[in-house]
Subunit: 223 residues, 2 copies
Amino acid sequence: MAQQERALRTRRAILTAAAEIFDDFGYEAATMSEILRRAGVTKGALYFHFTSKEQLASEVLHENAQVPAVPPQRLKLQEAADRGLLLAYLMVRDPVLRGGVRLALEYVGQDKLDRSVPFQDWAEESLRLLELAKSAGELQPHIDPGELAEVFVGAFAGTQLMSHALSGRADLNERVVALYRVLLAGIAAPGVMAELDVTGDRGARVEKAIRALRPAVARPQPV
Amino acid sequence: MAQQERALRTRRAILTAAAEIFDDFGYEAATMSEILRRAGVTKGALYFHFTSKEQLASEVLHENAQVPAVPPQRLKLQEAADRGLLLAYLMVRDPVLRGGVRLALEYVGQDKLDRSVPFQDWAEESLRLLELAKSAGELQPHIDPGELAEVFVGAFAGTQLMSHALSGRADLNERVVALYRVLLAGIAAPGVMAELDVTGDRGARVEKAIRALRPAVARPQPV
């Protein structure tokens, strides 16, 4: 294995461990020594890649904004739903995403961490899709995409929080599907709702479609 | 002033200060000395009323479950909406409610605090109202009240979290009104939505109606 590849794997292992610790304990209570223990790397390796807990948290938050774009659909409202269903699917499987969402939802304390990254990214993408949906006549006429984009993001955030609290996110997919069915029924123009696919395995199918579209990515394998 | 009344005021001042500190810093980072400083009482007075930070948090969480019942309405869906709009109205004004909601939404750490009190209380009340709405034919036939009650609670939780993060809850009422309009439009039977009042000042009017219905309560005045 080339040295660079090994370094990438180590970096990934540390980032994953840090995200898990942030998700379990929050930013304040997380310690570098606990992250070190979880990652199973040497102190030297950790500080070679990351200088501080703050830098680790910042990287976890920025990774969070890297959720892949969903494949284009005839209905833009389907794309907006796919974005949320994909995120629910990925969160259950990716500790870095989970850690980033927890960090984003923590109240700002005395630290200098910019927690708005995932919120903003998602609100902007939702807004873009909902504006396209409005132009295409997919929304009820009185709906304001700007207001709606924030409703979507806030409602998703609370739903995943409740799922974390009550089931350790085991029922996240189910809860997000229920949420999206109600939200979409409340905004879709007559006839559009019946054409939307908001079913339990939609998130998994979207993820599969994205992988099929992409050339193989040189992402480090699990160690 | 009678001695008992004075004791009640002191107790209230301490609980309010504790709730503010929990809301600002979270349970872990809150300290008894900071609560003491904020309440402006002596250490003796604090420990006369409360033995520990855990007891204070527990009291704040239980107060949270004391949101008054909303006045009966012809449409049960209106009562369900009134419950959320009232909570948004009260949260902006009542630090004890804010502190309780923050505590309820914190991930469970290593402590033994039962954070589920406000969640459960609200989910049960929502379920009761939505089941009545279903019996009365106010919901679209496919809607499952059990699933829906949790959608309402989770979506509200996330919306207030986002409002706290982005505006210090200055826009909470506005965001909750936007959320409820979409949620209700997604579940109401044809014709019912047009009869519902989900406007910006509904929460304030509900609170006024509750005060008018109640005999004067011997609640301690601000010190």
